[in-house]
């Protein structure tokens, strides 16, 4: 690098002298990568040398070394402003890794253990006549249960949530709207076990219905509704007011404006919100334990008799406490994660497909 380089900026008002240059000394591009490798090596070295048993400690030492080392190096070579930039950048990277490590290890663990039992038989058979200590059996009854319960919960919660959001954004003024917003916020905070207990006391104990998938679906819909309202509300607020005015100025009634202009413009985001809330309730186990009761056999009728569901099945197999049931629990966990993953992909697909187009 040629020319005079400056360690600190010129004082204000100082005219650039003949040696003034816009160039600053920069660390080579590979520095962060090299430093990260060095920090990892030192971290492992210290870990082995000091006999630290926890690998998390090794990682934290390496992360700390990387952040401090990057700052010190940049401060020496590049100046203080650049050093602060490097500090923030390396902190973001370390935090990103800290956030990703549990996720990756969780997926790795589930896939490696769950894929042992995952095959066609596992997906297409129930636990009927299979002793828990035997290998074999499957999750078919739990998949059916999850699909039906989540489907019914969505059929209840999505329309109500959608209409509530439309009311809040398009019509709601004054006290009623404020009250609705407040209760939606309260509902967001309801623990799933409380929603389950509410349906248990209301539907099963007071009205004397039996355990069923439908009872579980009602509790799940209570959990789902505020999420749908919130996400739909945000999406509707993003629709520019100009589009509503354009439609109204054409002499289109307000309800048709909402139906034909506002909702189609926001449909991608709304679909994503609904799918994400479906993914959230698909993993709920507390209301299912209370209301659906659990079952070993296939029950296709969600309105009559006990069913199973994937979260319940995982709990049940884990509780059985032997090698074969542990394998089945991991297999079911893998199926559940795949189910949620597929829903997310579908939601993204819909959002991309329905997004307003700007191409020529």
């Amino acid at each position: 690098m040629s020319g005079v380089t400056m360690d600190r900026p010129l004082p204000a008002g100082d005219a650039p002298g003949p040696g003034y240059t816009l160039r600053q000394p920069r660390l080579p591009r590979w520095t962060p990568a090299a430093l990260a490798a060095a920090a990892a090596a030192v971290g492992i070295g210290i870990g082995v040398g000091a006999g630290l048993s926890s690998h998390i400690q090794w990682g934290l030492i390496a992360g700390l070394l990387f952040v401090v080392g990057m700052y010190a190096l940049a401060a020496r070579v590049e100046g203080r402003r650049q050093a602060k930039d490097r500090l923030a950048t390396s902190l973001v990277w370390v935090c990103f890794l800290l956030a990703v490590v549990p996720l990756v290890s969780l997926v790795w663990e589930t896939v490696s253990r769950g894929s042992k039992v995952l095959d066609g038989t596992f997906l297409s058979h129930s636990m009927a006549g299979v002793l828990t200590i035997q290998p074999g059996g499957g999750v078919y009854h739990a998949i059916i249960g999850t699909l039906e319960q989540v489907g019914i919960a969505t059929a209840i919660a999505a329309p109500i949530g959608l209409l509530t959001a439309v009311y809040l954004v398009e019509y709601g003024r004054g006290r009623l709207a404020k009250a609705v917003t407040f209760f939606v916020d309260v509902m967001t905070g309801i623990p799933s076990i409380v929603a389950g207990l509410f349906i248990l006391s209301f539907w099963i104990l007071m009205l004397d219905f039996g355990y069923s998938g439908f009872a579980g679906a009602m509790a799940l819909s209570i959990l789902m509704m505020p999420v749908v309202v919130r996400s739909t509300e945000e999406m509707l607020k993003l629709v520019p007011n100009e589009l509503r005015e354009a439609s109204l100025a054409l002499g289109v009634p307000k309800w048709r404006t909402i139906l034909k202009v506002v909702l189609p413009t926001a449909i991608g985001g709304i679909a994503t919100g609904v799918m994400l809330s479906v993914a959230r309730i698909a993993g709920e186990s507390a209301p299912v334990v209370l209301l659906v009761f659990g079952s070993q056999v296939i029950n296709n009728d969600p309105f009559d008799g006990a069913q199973s569901s994937l979260p319940y099945y995982i709990y049940e197999q884990w509780a059985a406490g032997n090698a074969a049931s542990y394998d089945r629990a991991w297999g079911a966990a893998l199926v559940l994660i795949a189910f949620v993953m597929i829903l997310n992909l579908v939601a993204r697909g819909i959002a991309r497909w329905k997004a307003p187009k700007a191409g020529r």
């Binding site: 354009a246 109204l248 002499g251 202009v261 329905k354 187009k357 700007a358």
Partner: protein
């Protein structure tokens, strides 16, 4: 087709704030009337009271009368929806519906109003409206492409086509050229000259040359100070307003000696 507008004693409010005070004027059919005046003097608010769009704003309220060929827009039992079908509007920023194609944008008013037309009739409406908006030649080969993909000037002409497709009697334009380049502006001004054969046109503009070029009559609005309601200073033939206005404030504003 075109109708006369008679405004008498009209005041408009945003909540407790009075935005325009006691305005009376007549807008002749088959003519272009321009509204000029400084920002915040209530030109756009007044324009929006002419098709009852003002009350769409939360807190928007109107007192006074607007007669459209002897029928009061604010009379009891008048449906704002049918008012807006009679009095169309074009906005400052082009706002085509992003989910719809060019074709669907043009017929949006017809379709959303519940009209059940056959394909051939819709095609005729689209061709007529786009020709009316001077856009047909540019888009006739890509009617099924999204309306949002057009240039700003084309989008604004698309919005004009959408507004005239529902066959209104009056067309209100709220600074339709302020977001456009001079060439697109010229295209729209030419279009206004053609449209006045069929519609009553009211246009709000900040561009004095534009008012002088396109309008037959010009109204000058002003406000006494910040927070005061806007008032109509005078309305007269455009030629007179720009050569020999009867109020000193108008002359000051037009010649740039404002404030």
């Amino acid at each position: 087709m075109a109708k006369r507008i008679d405004v008498s004693g009209l005041s408009a409010f945003y909540g407790a704030h009075k935005a325009i005070d006691d305005i009376s004027m007549t807008v002749e059919p088959r003519s272009v009337t321009a509204f000029i005046g400084p920002s915040g003097c209530g030109k756009s608010t007044f324009l929006r009271t002419l098709n009852r769009m003002h009350e769409v704003t939360p807190g928007g309220r109107v007192e006074g009368k607007v007669l459209l060929d002897d029928e009061n827009l604010y009379g009891p039992g008048v449906d704002p929806v049918s008012v807006r079908r009679t009095v169309g509007m074009v906005f400052q920023r082009p706002n085509p519906f992003p989910t719809m194609s060019i074709y669907e944008n043009v017929v949006a008013g017809v379709r959303l109003n519940g009209g059940r037309l056959r394909k051939a009739e819709l095609d005729a409406v689209v061709e007529k409206s786009l020709k009316g908006a001077n856009l047909w030649k540019e888009v006739k080969d890509r009617l099924n492409k999204p309306g949002a993909g057009l240039s700003g000037g084309q989008q604004q002409r698309l919005c004009i086509a959408r507004a005239i497709a529902v066959e209104p009697q009056v067309l209100l334009m709220d600074e339709p050229c302020s977001a456009l380049d001079p060439i697109s502006t010229l295209a729209i001004e030419d279009l206004i000259g053609e449209l006045k054969e069929r519609f009553t046109i009211v246009i709000v503009t900040h561009n004095m040359q534009q008012a002088a070029r396109v309008s037959d009559r010009t109204a000058f609005f002003n406000l006494a100070g910040v927070g005061q309601p806007g008032k109509l200073v005078e309305i007269d033939d455009t030629e007179r307003i720009f050569s020999n206005p009867s109020v000193q404030a108008t002359e000051d504003y037009i010649s740039g000696r404002f404030g």
